[in-house]
């Protein structure tokens, strides 16, 4: 048996491993759902979290094991593959997730419109994820001697992608505080398979970039393709899983699997296509009678810079999208009050208000402007007392939590933060805690009260918009 035969057979087994891996993950998910409905485990608290996190690791592990097993004839060092997996996981946990969730606050605005969904998925989430997977491979394995085969790009790329997916999955399990195991496993498997696919594409381009002196734009092209695939997957999945209104009380809601099948199909297609491409590349190299340039020094700096530049361009588009979706404002002018409010808020002025806007479909937060006529000698303190009486009689447990004197647009003002309980009487829903802020400005013989109403959970998110609303208000 010649070396070439061995290598060829090994390559031909790619698609078999891909099928086995996808089927294995799907079967595993099916088993988890089956066992869950059979045993109806009463896991809760820490036990549920621990089992959830362990189950979150399985799809990635299955995928890696199957590929590792098929690669056994000339396997990559286990340590290296595992290292790249961990690097992917760490980069996602330390940079990727905090940047998308805390800095860009993607979940707050991604679903506001189809435009924000498409642009946000590709230029923010897609670009950041692809870049970190790229960084994991490029900085931690690409320039070493271990990266010496065409398929190495796919092996290491997938490892990094699965590491990233695992971080997302652990975060998902922790954030949902122990979701139902079956449904959670569907999501976990979906995320793992989808990321294996995106990263596989990037990996193929990385492999060829290193081993076949490709043009400068080759790697950026692969980066763009992986980013687009990532974004398109999010968009397509959201088209498949649009939400349902089901008549009747459904106690046993079966997990939705359309996203999982989509991810499975994508992973399979990518694995097969990449395997075929690699085979074709080998055949072409043989026909041309030259060996691939196995040289660690070949890694093209310019190509790397071009990729980084592309990422910068993509993320700039992403930042513009983010700012225009979240920072867009609408001007208003009512009864001598001029200002702006966030684009996605709607006017909800009620009796007794000068002006009121509400984030009807989002956080539900409200910004209101009211005025109170003052008697001679009355000041902000009288307004505070009047508000306390009014809110105290309308709601339960009204309490001023914090109060201080501030300057608002050059005028002295009183700022207070308060909370109360809206009893939701007769709505048969639980009472709700409302937290808010007032700016009270004495303006001649009237007091202007600018109020923010929201829930304690949403307060940090809506406060910046409220600050902007207050600061740009003139009267």
């Amino acid at each position: 048996m010649s070396t070439q035969q061995v290598v060829d057979r090994q390559r031909a087994a790619w698609w078999q491993s891909a099928i086995l891996a996808v089927v294995g993950v799907l079967v595993f998910v099916g088993i988890v759902i089956g066992l869950e409905s059979a045993f109806q485990p009463t896991l809760s608290g820490t036990a549920l979290l621990v089992v959830g996190v362990l189950l979150a690791l399985v799809p990635a592990a299955l995928w890696l094991i199957f590929f590792y097993v098929q690669d056994r004839l000339e396997p990559e060092p286990k340590k290296e593959v595992f290292k790249i997996f961990l690097v992917g996981l760490a980069l996602a946990g330390a940079i990727g997730i905090p940047v998308t969730d805390q800095l860009f606050r993607v979940s707050d605005w991604l679903y506001r419109s189809s435009v924000s969904l498409v642009l946000g998925s590709i230029f923010v989430v897609g670009a950041i994820e692809t870049f970190l997977i790229y960084v994991a491979v490029r900085l931690f394995i690409y320039d070493t001697d271990e990266f010496d085969e065409r398929s190495d790009g796919m092996v290491y790329g997938t490892a990094a992608g699965l590491g990233y997916a695992t971080a997302l999955n652990i975060q998902f399990v922790l954030a949902s505080e122990g979701a139902a195991l079956g449904s959670a496993e569907v999501t976990v498997a979906e995320v793992a398979l989808a990321h294996a696919a995106f990263a596989g594409v990037l990996g193929y381009f990385l492999g060829r970039a290193k081993l076949e002196r490709e043009r400068v734009l080759w790697l950026p092209l692969g980066f763009l393709l992986a980013t687009l695939l990532n974004g398109l997957f999010t968009i397509l999945r959201s088209r498949l899983e649009t939400g349902d209104i089901i008549m009747g009380q459904v106690s046993a809601v079966l997990p939705t699997v359309s996203g999982l099948f989509l991810a499975g199909a994508l992973a399979l297609i990518v694995a097969v296509v990449v395997a075929l491409l690699i085979q074709r590349d080998i055949a072409r190299t043989q026909a041309q009678g030259r060996r691939a340039a196995v040289d660690a020094a070949v890694g093209d700096r310019r190509s790397n810079f071009a990729t980084i530049a592309l990422f910068v361009v993509l993320i700039i588009v992403g930042i513009i999208t983010w700012l225009s979706v979240t920072g867009g404002v609408t001007s208003f002018e009512v009864a001598g009050f001029k200002g702006v409010y966030p684009d996605h808020y709607g006017v909800a002025t009620r009796e007794g208000d000068v002006f009121r806007v509400a984030d009807v479909l989002g956080s539900g937060a409200e910004f209101a402007i009211q005025t109170i006529e003052l008697q001679a000698g009355e000041g902000a303190q009288q307004v505070v007392a009047a508000l306390a009486v009014q809110r105290g009689s309308d709601f339960a447990a009204y309490k001023v939590l914090e109060s201080k004197e501030v300057t608002l647009n050059g005028k002295p003002a009183l700022w207070q933060r308060f909370a109360y309980v809206d009893p939701m009487t007769l709505l048969k829903t639980l009472p709700r805690v409302v937290e808010g802020e007032d700016y009270i400005v004495v303006d001649g013989n009237r007091a202007v009260i600018i109020t923010l109403l929201t829930t304690p959970e949403n307060l940090p998110d809506v406060e910046p918009s409220f600050q902007q609303f207050v600061e740009r208000l003139t009267f």
Binding site: F39, D244, T429
Partner: protein
């Protein structure tokens, strides 16, 4: 390939074994767990002493007492109707005595005994050998007027229905805070079948308020309630918005009008358990646009939401949302 299959099967079976043992360890034996009951045990120590009260007897039908704005109840004044603008209504009964271990339960309905209760509560009473009057009043926390229409009450003694009654709110003017008709309570006094008074249209437009009670049969409108959950985790979504737009108003039109409240037929927000109830009933066979929104989830717009005769009242919805 054979080796691969072996590896595949061995990995899979190992995982299954691990899973079975983990889940099995936490498995609950019967799939139909019994709901926790709160029946008051009669107890062996409840043997009555001589002359002590053994059986509680209460007046039926239930009585309705005059009330005022502050929530004061005047048990000596029985009313046959509450005026428009009434903020507090109070039903009650006369009783002979209260034995040990007596729990009195009350259920208030608005729009018929077959609707979802608007209020229910129960309380364990201290034993009492004397007769007296018992009542339980209800009203909005914020002191706003109660919706006009027929209100019903059921009284339960130790979970057994003991008395019921009905009263109409409306027919007077808002200024009439004191009851229009008051009479001295008598032993035989009972709320007879009330004549249906002409109702005034409600001038309240707030979407969180009850709608006007229609003259049509109850079956024509249905209460809509439900639960909104994350389609992936099945966890309830708190603070999700369920909005029903006025018939004929579509999502685009509503969005163009800046989500104006005037286009909203009714709406509700979910509590921390993901549950909501629309304060206003929906008409059957009318096409509404329903919008469901929650922060961080894809918005759901159903432009053809119809409740037909097949649906029971109340209609309970299960809504799955996705990220």
């Amino acid at each position: 390939m054979k080796t691969q299959m072996k590896v595949f099967l061995s990995i899979l079976s190992t995982l299954v074994l691990v899973l079975v043992s983990v889940l099995g360890a936490f498995a609950s034996t019967p799939a139909w767990r019994a709901a926790a009951g709160n029946v008051e045990s009669a107890g062996n120590d409840a043997l009555p002493q001589a002359a002590a009260c053994t059986k509680m007897q209460i007046s039926n039908p239930a009585l309705w007492f005059a009330t005022d704005k502050k929530g004061n109840v005047y048990p000596d004044k029985i009313v046959k109707r509450y005026p428009t603008g009434t903020t507090v209504i109070a039903s009650g009964f006369e009783y002979n005595c209260i034995p040990k271990n007596t729990t009195i339960g009350v259920v208030y309905y608005y729009g018929g005994f077959d609707t979802e209760p608007v209020f229910s509560d129960s309380h364990k009473e201290s034993p009492d050998n004397k007769s007296g009057v018992f009542w339980w009043y209800i009203g909005y926390e914020d002191g706003s007027p109660l919706p006009e229409g027929d209100w019903q009450v059921e009284w339960y003694i130790n979970k057994k229905l003991a008395s019921k009654g009905e009263i109409t709110v409306g027919g007077g003017t808002k200024d009439d805070i004191e009851p229009l008709e008051t009479e001295e309570a008598t032993e035989e006094e009972a709320t007879e079948e009330e004549e249906v008074t002409e109702e005034e249209p409600s001038d309240v437009e707030d979407i969180w308020d009850f709608g006007e009670e229609e003259e049509e049969p109850v079956a024509e409108t249905v209460t809509v309630q439900g639960k909104i959950i994350d389609g992936k985790t099945k966890k309830p979504i708190a603070d999700a918005l369920f909005v029903v737009l006025n018939p004929g108003v579509g999502m685009q039109e509503w969005a163009d009008k800046d989500f104006a409240e005037e286009d909203v037929y009714t709406g509700a927000k979910t509590d921390t358990r993901g549950q909501f109830t629309c304060p206003k009933e929906l008409e059957r066979n009318v096409t509404y646009t329903v919008v469901v929104a929650a922060k961080g989830y894809q918005i759901i717009v159903a432009e053809d939401f119809i409740i037909d005769e097949q649906q029971e009242d109340p209609v309970v919805l299960t809504i799955k949302m996705y990220k």
